[in-house]
Symmetry: C2
């Protein structure tokens, strides 16, 4: 049986943007509460592809992708956290707060 965390076949976990909004408080310190980053070397996340963000958070959590700032934040995320955060940012207006 192939274990599917998220994003393949019937999703076991469905991201909830509202839960993601609560969980994103700390992420907003770099990525902006509206998903537009304050810091030029950190990406905007507003309107980004949900599945892409899930894969990146999973990669940071698993150490397949390494970044001094992201790794500590991703290490303790649950699959549901990853799905909620990704859903939250994916649903934001890509231009940021309007």
């Amino acid at each position: 049986m192939l274990l599917c965390l998220s994003g393949c076949g019937e999703p076991d976990i469905v991201g909830d943007p509202e839960s993601g909004a609560e969980k994103a408080a700390i992420c907003g310190q770099c990525h902006g509460q509206d998903g537009i980053s304050f810091i030029p070397i950190y990406p905007n996340l507003a309107g980004q592809k949900q599945q892409y963000m899930e894969l990146q958070l999973e990669a940071f959590r698993a150490g397949r992708r390494i970044n001094a700032a992201m790794t500590p934040h991703a290490q303790n995320l649950s699959d549901q956290d990853i799905a909620d955060l990704s859903a939250f940012y994916a649903n934001l207006d890509p231009r940021g707060k309007q």
Copy 2:
């Protein structure tokens, strides 16, 4: 003397969005000609932070970040290519073609 490729201190290389548009033809096949990706696991690039994209392309080129699709494309990019591509995408409307 600290060699600065791009994005630190006085930039040696300045990205040209018009050159970037020409160089981005192949990138558009996944990331969309307007920077909005066709494929859920590949990121939108429209309006993304220029410096962030430069760092990611440098990381893919150097093998610090690994992706089966991106690595072959990044391996032969010059510093100027990286700056031009990043400038091109950073200047696009984050909502994509309007």
